[in-house]
């Protein structure tokens, strides 16, 4: 959770980091360091990023979103997704649980350096927003023939 943000050698923060890393290691669940623009895990929407040599795909698990409210922008390799998920409290009912997110969100995702900001496509289906970013051809592995 503290990840690389606390990488300046203070002993208190070192202790936090050590504890955090140990917990993560013990649970075996969190192999990545926290990005400086990342948010706490479990925050709506949850995000997965996958890559192949040709493309990078970002999946936002954003159920119940109105596609018209989604705002996606990309600047170099920084992808920003903003939107609003409305899940208003019903009137004249008694709530037992209210776990679902209600409100506006904004996530910034750092993509690999070689993505092409001109070639981005997005699609929303079954509550998953999939953003497909093509990588530059120069970055893709090339077969070199021996003459």
């Amino acid at each position: 959770m503290f990840g690389r943000l606390t990488n300046f050698g203070g002993s208190l923060f070192d202790e936090f980091r050590r504890l955090d890393e140990e917990l993560n290691e013990a649970s075996g669940r969190w192999p990545w360091p926290a990005g400086i623009r990342s948010v706490a895990r479990g925050t709506y929407p949850q995000i997965n990023v996958g890559s192949t040599p040709e493309q990078v795909d970002v999946y936002l698990f954003a159920a119940g979103l109105d596609p018209a409210t989604i705002d996606i922008s990309i600047q170099k390799n920084l992808l920003t997704v903003a939107g609003e998920r409305k899940s208003p409290v019903e009137k004249e009912v008694d709530y037992y649980r209210k776990e679902r997110f209600d409100g506006a969100f904004r996530r910034v995702i750092t993509l690999p350096d070689d993505v092409d900001p001109e070639r981005v496509e997005a699609r929303y289906r079954d509550g998953v927003l999939q953003i497909h970013v093509q990588r530059r051809e120069a970055a893709q592995p090339r077969q070199i023939k021996v003459q």
Binding site: I47, G50, S51, F61, A62, G127
Partner: protein
């Protein structure tokens, strides 16, 4: 004799694959839910992004409601994860029900990954205003 052996082998294989299946499905996603009640019944909303009508299962009996679903995500061959908040594709959550709910009249719908389940209350279980007579 050989037939009996073949049968035994079948049993063993099935057991193994069941064990394997259990191990693979150890991580389940817990869909966040809203649950509220009014005079007519109880409503449950659950966020299950990636789940569609065909990969959703609702099991209801007298005592419990089990919600299960499989997120179906299109992914190209050989994709590597750079980052993953979501570490499984299987949702499962269950709730104990009580006797005044009419489980045979449950209604459910799914839209954009949000499941809505409505469980009506039996007429005799709906709240009655009790009048107080004076004098």
């Amino acid at each position: 004799m050989s037939e009996a052996n073949a049968e035994n082998k079948d049993v063993v294989t099935r057991e193994n694959s069941e064990v394997q299946k259990q191990q693979e499905s150890e991580i389940v996603l817990r869909a966040p839910v809203d649950i509220y009640e009014n005079a007519e019944g109880i409503t449950l909303l659950a966020d299950m992004p990636g789940v569609n009508k065909d990969s959703l299962s609702l099991q209801v009996d007298k005592d419990s409601l089990i919600v299960e679903g499989e997120a179906r995500i299109d992914m190209p061959e050989g994709m590597e994860a750079l980052y993953a908040d979501v570490r499984s594709t299987r949702y499962q959550r269950s709730f104990a029900l009580s006797g005044e709910l009419e489980t045979d009249r449950i209604e459910a719908s799914l839209k954009d990954g949000v499941l809505r389940v409505h469980i009506p209350k039996r007429a005799e279980a709906r709240p009655r205003k009790i009048e107080i007579h004076t004098g």
